[in-house]
């Protein structure tokens, strides 16, 4: 039984024999294309009507595409984040998406002609009610909580969610950000390279709260039947993050690439997002969201910097953070 499984897996791992179908190469973030992410569903869904072969290539997409420049193999880039698109845009490598984005289900205004959001969420500190009975009810309460409340966050120099925290704190505290960091620092148990290490520490019970997303509890409810994990909702507001797709200007498959972009905002595509990517769909009426997503508590206020503001704030905000944490 096991041997057959391994054999099947091996077969599945070898690339399909060259078919005459055109190939659409999609550069995507690591997790998207894994079988637990939305990738396989997206691939199957698109191949069902495109008469093509969609190929996910995963890795560090932004550095790679910037390095490859116009010689890139990519037709589509999938999974860029709102806070780093400024540099991607200046490269001039991307073409307009050509979609109607007048009625997206986002909590912020979106008028970008190049980068098309396919999902979104907000940063939040997630806790386990069985371990933290009195979670802070606001950002201020978190800052003024006793220092034995321990949180894990991600490094803004290495992780996209860490960068979002920088911008979140900046948008809540503005000029008072250094004081806010000084209050938060003693509560930070550790800073990890990426979201996954942090979240692992949290689920292992090392930390009381973890920097994650408002949508994280949905996974535990839906996949594990565990209703003890919650995102602490702060009245000061939560920072918005969306994942974006864009087509590459120099693509050798312009029609296919356009077809793919056209498909992203369709209900069929959008319905795969909530329970595979554990985030909110970018264009889907709320009634069509899975119940677990509809029931999640939502912040009243969404904070967001556009990419130019984010790019301008990144270095000074990082310096403030570094200074506060190097004391």
């Amino acid at each position: 039984m096991k041997i057959r499984m391994i054999a099947a897996a091996l077969l599945a791992a070898t690339p399909a024999f060259a078919q005459d179908k055109p190939v659409l190469t999609v550069y995507a973030g690591d997790y998207i294309a894994s079988e637990w992410g939305p990738g396989p569903k997206i691939e199957k869904g698109f191949e069902a009507f495109c008469d093509c072969d969609l190929e996910f290539v995963t890795g560090d997409i932004l550095p790679r595409i910037l390095m490859e420049g116009e010689g890139t193999d990519a037709d589509i880039v999938f999974g860029l984040n709102t806070d780093v698109t400024a540099r991607a845009r200046t490269s001039g490598l991307f073409a307009p998406h050509g979609q109607d984005i007048s009625d997206l289900s986002l909590p912020v205004e979106w008028s970008d002609e190049i980068f098309l959001p396919y999902n979104w969420g907000e940063t939040a500190f997630v806790y386990d009610e069985t371990r933290l009975e009195n979670p802070p009810a606001s950002f201020d309460e978190l800052l003024n909580a006793p220092d034995d409340l321990k949180i894990v966050i991600q490094d803004p120099r290495a992780s996209i969610s860490g960068l979002a925290l920088l911008l979140w704190v900046k948008s809540v505290y503005g000029d008072d950000t250094p004081e806010a960091w000084a209050k938060l620092a003693p509560k930070v148990l550790t800073v990890t390279k990426g979201w996954s290490e942090s979240y692992g520490m949290f689920t292992d019970g090392e930390a009381d709260m973890v920097l994650s997303y408002t949508t994280s509890p949905a996974y535990h409810i839906e996949a594990e039947g565990d209703t003890t994990k919650h995102a602490a909702i702060f009245p000061e507001g939560h920072y918005f993050m969306a994942e974006l797709a864009a087509q590459v200007k120099s693509t050798d498959q312009p029609e296919l690439a356009q077809e793919f972009m056209d498909w992203i905002l369709t209900p069929e595509f959008q319905r795969t997002i909530p329970l595979a990517n554990w985030s909110m769909p970018a264009k889907l009426p709320r009634e069509e969201w899975p119940e677990v997503m509809r029931d999640l508590p939502r912040p009243e206020k969404t904070l967001f910097y556009n990419e130019d503001e984010a790019e301008a704030l990144r270095k000074p905000a990082l310096d403030e953070w570094l200074r506060a944490f190097s004391q």
């Binding site: 079988e35 120099r157 692992g200 292992d204």
Partner: protein, 514 residues
């Protein structure tokens, strides 16, 4: 110059490989700098990172080497059932994939770990693994096994005849220490310290997970940031250069304090000396016991939590596991080939620069190496086609320094002890390789191959840069975590660990049996 040419004539392989290595490491750095159109200056945070990196590496290396001495001595002079197995097991942390090791350390030393549970029970203050102390703890955890292994080899390299002679002369333990052990340590320790120092110099994930915050930033993180976030290749190249500069300085320092011990030839005998009785027996056993629990507890703890779920892992994980294993074995074979050629050339007394070149990869940032290769090979090869071969090659190269540390002393001893005899018998080429070199070097070769395979198995660094549709097992582990499947991820971690150990064991065992 004439001597140089003669050396090349006698030994084209070693010179060739060393030149290629230096060219590759410096060339990729140059490629990155060239792509960036020059080097960028370093900021205040970069210099802080340099300072922290050097400081923690010096301390980690010193602690690992010093703590390893009593353990290695105890293992060298005591015999007990299961000793061979224990020596192999104690090597485990060094080849443990970083992410798995961190999980293990946290499960024992973390806030929620067994140690703090115990302290709370006794009403004592808790200890924290987060902060510089966590970085040092983790580095000692990783490198104590390497240090013990290298020092143990030093002990085993003292011919048994010497100990018997010492016994017949009624040497006290202090005399033995003075005449036999200290000279050996004097020759072995700088190398051990250097090896650990260099490993810790490029540490990245450990420092981030356990460092507690930005005050524990290492240069490798700064390189990662420069690549991934700032896309500042000039700064990345500059930092890569700083890292190589630091290591060259350390290597020069270690060379300068090394005085080779000369014990002369002995019969090849694996029975070590018999240790002194009395209270020293107790301290030896204590050293072994403490080291074993420190090194094995975190591993057992991780295993206990992940093992039961392994059969439930999705088919994809098994495919990635197979792919990773094949890549690891290829890396190991390539590493052995390079390693043996270099070690023999170094033993022949060829220029020190060969050894320097062989040690270089340990500090070459895999990120710089990978990116440089990417820039150089683009246009010749499609990125997808090069992802796996380049990963195999980089992993082989990254394992070289460890292999060399184990092989060079053995190759030198072989040369000193049997070289003249073999020369006088005109034993050359393949015959010499088959009848003298391979059998005599089988042990360190097996060890080196095992290390290379295991390290390649757990490596994550290079492949993510190249982006691929054929993920390796460590990448799968991260994918599982990223999809919230933490329990599956811990099972995947155990699988990764089991395969790493199995590969190491197969090579190492092969070396001992040969």
């Amino acid at each position: 110059m004439a001597a140089g040419i003669l050396a090349i004539k006698r030994d084209p392989g070693g010179v060739l490989i060393a030149t290629a290595l230096a060219a590759l490491i410096l060339g990729t750095l140059a490629a990155v700098a060239w792509q960036a159109r020059g080097l960028s200056g370093l900021g205040i945070w970069d210099w802080r990172a340099v300072r922290f990196t050097v400081w923690q590496a010096v301390l980690s290396a010193a602690l690992s080497a010093i703590l390893a001495i009593p353990v290695a001595r105890a293992l060298a002079r005591r015999r007990f059932p299961g000793k061979a197995a224990l020596v192999t097991l104690l090597g485990a942390p060094f080849i443990l994939p970083v992410i798995v090791a961190i999980m293990g350390l946290i499960s024992v030393f973390g806030r929620n770990g067994a140690i703090n549970d115990g302290l709370r029970l006794l009403g004592l203050p808790e200890m924290s693994i987060y902060g510089w102390q966590g970085v040092i703890l983790a580095h000692v955890f990783f490198n104590l096994p390497l240090s013990v292994r290298l020092i143990l080899q030093g002990w085993q390299a003292i011919p048994a005849e010497r100990f018997r002679l010492a016994e017949s002369l009624a040497f006290t333990p202090a005399d033995i220490a003075r005449h036999l052990e200290r000279p050996m340590l004097r020759s072995v320790l700088p190398g051990v310290w250097l090896a650990v120092f260099l490993v810790c110099l490029t540490s990245f994930t450990v420092a981030l997970a356990l460092g507690g915050g930005p005050s524990a930033t290492t240069v490798e993180l700064a390189i990662y940031q420069a690549f991934r976030f700032d896309f500042d290749l000039g700064r990345a190249a500059m930092l890569g250069l700083v890292q190589i500069g630091l290591s060259l300085a350390a290597m020069t320092l270690a060379r300068w304090i090394t005085i080779p011990a000369a014990f002369g030839a002995g019969l090849h005998e694996t029975q070590g000396p018999r240790g002194p009785q009395g209270w020293r027996r107790g301290t030896d056993m204590l050293a072994i016991l403490l080291a074993s629990s420190f090194l094995l507890w975190p591993i057992l703890s991780v295993t206990a939590s992940g093992l039961p779920r392994i059969p439930m892992l999705p088919a994809d994980v098994w495919a990635a596991a197979t792919r990773s294993a094949v890549m690891a074995v290829s890396s190991a074979l390539l590493a052995l080939l390079l390693c043996l050629t270099l070690a023999l050339a170094i033993a022949r007394g060829n220029a020190h620069w060969i050894e320097m070149a062989g040690m270089l990869p340990i500090v070459a940032s895999p990120l710089v190496l990978g990116t440089g290769l990417f820039i150089l090979l683009r246009g010749w090869l499609s990125t997808d086609a090069m992802a796996l071969p380049v990963t195999v090659a980089i992993n082989a190269i990254m394992a070289l320094p460890f292999g060399l540390r184990a092989l060079i002393p053995a190759a030198q001893a072989l040369r000193d002890d049997y070289g003249r005899l073999a020369d006088s018998l005109e034993m050359r080429g393949l015959a010499r390789l088959r009848h003298l070199t391979l059998p005599r070097l089988a042990r360190p070769l097996g060890f080196a191959g095992g290390l290379a395979a295991a390290l390649a198995m757990g490596d994550l660094g290079v492949i993510t840069l190249f982006a691929t549709d054929q993920p390796t097992l460590p990448l799968k582990l991260y994918q599982l975590m990223n999809s919230y499947r933490m329990a599956d991820a811990s099972a995947c971690a155990v699988l990764l660990m089991v395969i790493s150990f199995a590969l190491f064991w197969l090579f190492d065992r092969g070396g001992r049996l040969a």
